[in-house]
Point group: D2
Chain length 344, copies 4
């Protein structure tokens, strides 16, 4: 049993960390902080945990040392204090974007300023077990992953690794929880409800996370907010370098099976028929799975790759706990076995 | 042709007034004010009016005199300045709650303070044509109606007028637009989406509007926010004073037909079968109808009365324009003929 | 470890039984039948179980003996064959309505025909642990519960037991999964989407289940389909027999605490503030909780009781497994610990 | 005034035709047929027309001659009887797919059989006023348009006409009404609700309609069903042939303004800011607009083109009535002025 605490527990990622860790067989849940909600019962903010989590939020300064510290603060609030936080626990998992980019130059380019602790960037391992399991197993500092970057990394990774992908055109559909718990006009229910709202037509900041993992590959990305609370869905037209007559379904299946056949949280979903023959985010709500499917175009050298995940789970809190499992030598599925619901 | 202006045009009621008046055959649309959005194109705030309404918001002080002034300011912002506003137009229709209650004592009781211009309260006619058509036809000052009050007044009015209603237990279901365009945590999409949220278990302020129209009748009211943007739906269990053996379906139909048979915007909907055999708000979205239905209980002396309307239309902007039509001697349906959509 | 099988596993209740039993620590999952889907992989029908449940549906005649047989067939398909089914397992839990009513007269009245095995009716215990735990612990035959009956039984039970409830007016709001997996015109998405559809204004068949548990109490019930897939929500105006000056919040809290303080799956939710101060079905999706809240009316002798549950869980599969836990002497929470999600 | 009838009036396109024609200032509404619903009041099937349309469905054989006959039968039910139908009215507008393709060879390729009246194919003008206005003004036979083809034709047409488009990758998002009024398992509410379901990864039949209008241009198309009843939304990554340094925002605006500046139902929507800065289907529900926007990528020679329309209006009934207006010399906006709603 290890002791884990959460720094910044009022947001949606913080809430999911709480839910998962509460039931994790090897974690003793310690403390949860919130500057604004000191003394408020945790279950008042995360009502699904009523009767289960009875503690109250504490002030960050009351944080005691623990074995693993999860940080779920907003982007930009972690970098400045990383040395302080690192004193609290030997192992730190930061779900913000502050330590995702390993190159200080890249950080400056996208965030418009120097990283306050550039030497720490290289101490962090990017928290995607499917690509960095070996490094994670010996890491003390792990960054979280962007949910949009994760779906691209997992869905396109095998094609890039094989050298087959020349260019991809990707449309990512997201739910409203991706924008977080803070109230804003774009999330006002009468406006957000039923929206089909393209909010990014060239999201290079997220693509930098992808480039860091996969290497340079031309991805043309649009991101569209749709009527959904949780969920990320990817449709990617992939232009392949391999000649048309040499690539077929069996080859694609082989490639993805080799990449993910042993992965506990990646499933290949590409049936010939059935309503759910391709990945769908709704049946993954609450689960840590990333489902990936594909359809080969018959008369052109393109492959449509589809994928789905829950942005708060595999795209956030779930991957973070999976990383903890790898770091601590626990069974990788521990605490993450909820399969999702149907119907929903 | 008359000239009409709107004071406070950025909210949802203001937007619907704009839409209706733009197409109204006897209205020349004049000015729309907004303190915060001076100079902003109106269609930027109300995107459905793109290419149709090309004007910009003006400052309230730029308001020129006109024939009818619609006020769509938040509650509490009208009462203090009514004398100023009344100088702008001979006819004023105020959709806020500031002049709905005719009795200064009642106003003080519910709003916790004296009305600044109590003598004006009696100048206003309550803007519900189905009950106050005669007064409206000669009125210069008309108050808007509360959407919850309107559905109760229309659905229960005939029973109360006939002296049949002893007691009603009403559950009103509402959409998110009822809370207005201002951003708040209760309307944050991830929280509001899919909600079934009882937010009032004894809403006496709204019931005061009902009591003013119908007289004292015991109504036990709950209001529940559900997944819907526009729409109000009422289910009321009505305990009847008439003896069981004397009341039947034919009598109920007769009562409601007498009350509403000639009404342009009240329809009776009570079929034996069919998906839409009772009132449903979704097919009324954008329309000015209030649909009313009922089902007599066989073995108890109760009647279930159901009703539906669009809170921004019959429960707001639509009734206001209908009042204008009555005041100005226009055809009462003018500008209000959109029937709603199916499917939707 | 016991062996459990499911007779009729393609429906929504069957799917939830599968999900729960798959993760249940004391259950070895045996067989799942379907006449129409013999040989089809189970996960094709229940896509959330992909990679977890690898078996295929078998024909009912291939069913081997097991320790507990769950029956999730449509209403009316169980009664005729109960003797056959009872030979398969010592313990049978039937989620259909066929054995819910213990009185053959009552059965005939509501179902319009004689029960084929009336002598079996009394062998079945009504599967609501909160009221029948003692009988369940020694029962071999358990009926499932109706989801609407369950929310009424749990929410109003304490008031009835105390002799305080004179009359209740209840509005129940339900999601589309309550109508089951079979396609029908009322569930066609363009028609069902956004519906606020009163489909019952005097549902006496469901109330019979309530009367059987609580005794005769006048309940005026309406049932309304709203935009929701899973979930049941109750709002009940309760007219109390106790005099107004003697009943207060503390008394109500005391009554409900006494009834449910030790219950693993009933929570009391009645806060003074907060978005989730009263029960909400959405945060219970997938969980086995029934949340109950109340608000006392100040100026009339009425109490508004609210409740929420997931119709496929506490109102179906969840209660059935909870019954199994009681029958088999397992920890009552076993397999049912998923707490629900937020946001959702 | 002309007399118009509808052959096949129970579907969603038929319902919208009814709604539009009922309010059309130059149309006298004649008859509506349905084989299955003979004698049923029309408003029972289209509940938004209650109190407005009082007629009943008649049998097709009772159809009298009229000036314009709209056909809203399922695909495949028109071709065989076109000679009969053409005797009923001088002008026929067929919203099915039976006469959309002008080339009998192309028809055979996609529909797998010979067209029964191939000589009629060339008599029909493809009913897209924005591209075929001149031909329509003298046409007697007009085909309807596919909603997916329409959004592609309108959004990409100017780029293709200018010779700028080398290749497009398009993702089209659609609502559930696109699949029609007939009940099917894929539209069962618990399954369809919240879906993000790629149902086509190479929809060449629809693209044939595009190729017929625009000429050969490589379009890689995916179609995804999302949570929405009405609406089509397009996101297209367009790879341009023009050199990067010569193409800029002004040029794109110029191109689209030239194409659509005078069009009554195409609006250009590409603002720098604002929630609704790009096209959104929800505010077009019930309207005949197609909104088109674009965003130029800074560092690659690509343009993201976005578009939105209501599949039952501009993608179906609305375009059909617009064609009638052109054919009959009416004002092109007549009957089609409803602007859509906000909020919704």
């Amino acid at each position: 049993m290890i002791r884990a605490s959460i720094l910044g527990g009022t947001g949606y990622i913080g809430g999911e960390l709480l839910r998962i860790l509460h039931f994790h067989p090897q974690v003793e849940f310690a403390q949860v902080t919130s500057r604004r909600k000191v003394g408020t019962p945790i279950a008042e903010v995360h009502p699904n945990l009523r009767g289960l989590v009875l503690d109250k939020f504490i002030h960050p300064e009351e944080l005691l040392s623990c074995d693993v510290l999860f940080i779920a603060l907003p982007h930009g609030e972690v970098a400045n204090r990383i040395e302080t936080y690192a004193e609290i626990a030997q192992r730190v998992i930061d779900t913000s974007a502050d330590f995702r980019l390993s190159n200080p130059e890249t950080y400056r380019r996208w965030y418009g300023k120097d990283h306050p602790y550039p030497e720490w960037l290289s101490k962090f391992v990017y928290g995607l077990p499917e690509r960095n399991r070996a490094s994670l197993s010996s890491a003390n500092y792990v960054s979280g992953v962007g949910c949009n970057a994760t779906i691209l990394n997992l869905a396109l990774g095998p094609l890039v690794d094989a050298g087959w992908l020349e260019r991809a055109v990707a449309d990512i559909k997201v739910g409203s929880s991706e924008a977080g718990a803070e109230v804003r006009s774009s999330s006002h229910h009468p406006e957000r409800s039923g929206a089909v709202r393209v909010y990014s037509t060239g999201d290079h900041r997220h693509l930098t996370e992808v480039e860091q993992q996969l290497g340079p590959v031309p991805i043309h990305l649009t991101v569209t907010a749709i009527e959904m609370v949780r969920g990320v869905h990817l449709t990617a037209q992939c232009f392949l370098s391999t000649k048309q007559d040499s690539i077929d379904n069996r080859l694609i299946w082989g490639l993805y099976r080799q990449a993910y056949g042993e992965e506990p949280f990646v499933r290949l979903v590409a049936k010939r028929q059935g309503l759910y023959r391709y990945p769908e985010p709704k049946i993954l709500v609450g689960s840590n799975y990333c489902d990936i499917g594909f359809a080969l175009s018959e008369d052109s050298n393109t492959l449509v790759v589809m994928a789905a995940l829950d942005n708060l789970m595999k795209g956030g809190a779930g991957s973070a706990v999976q990383c903890m499992n790898v770091m601590c030598g626990f069974e990788e599925r521990a605490g993450l076995e909820f399969p999702g619901l149907h119907p929903i």
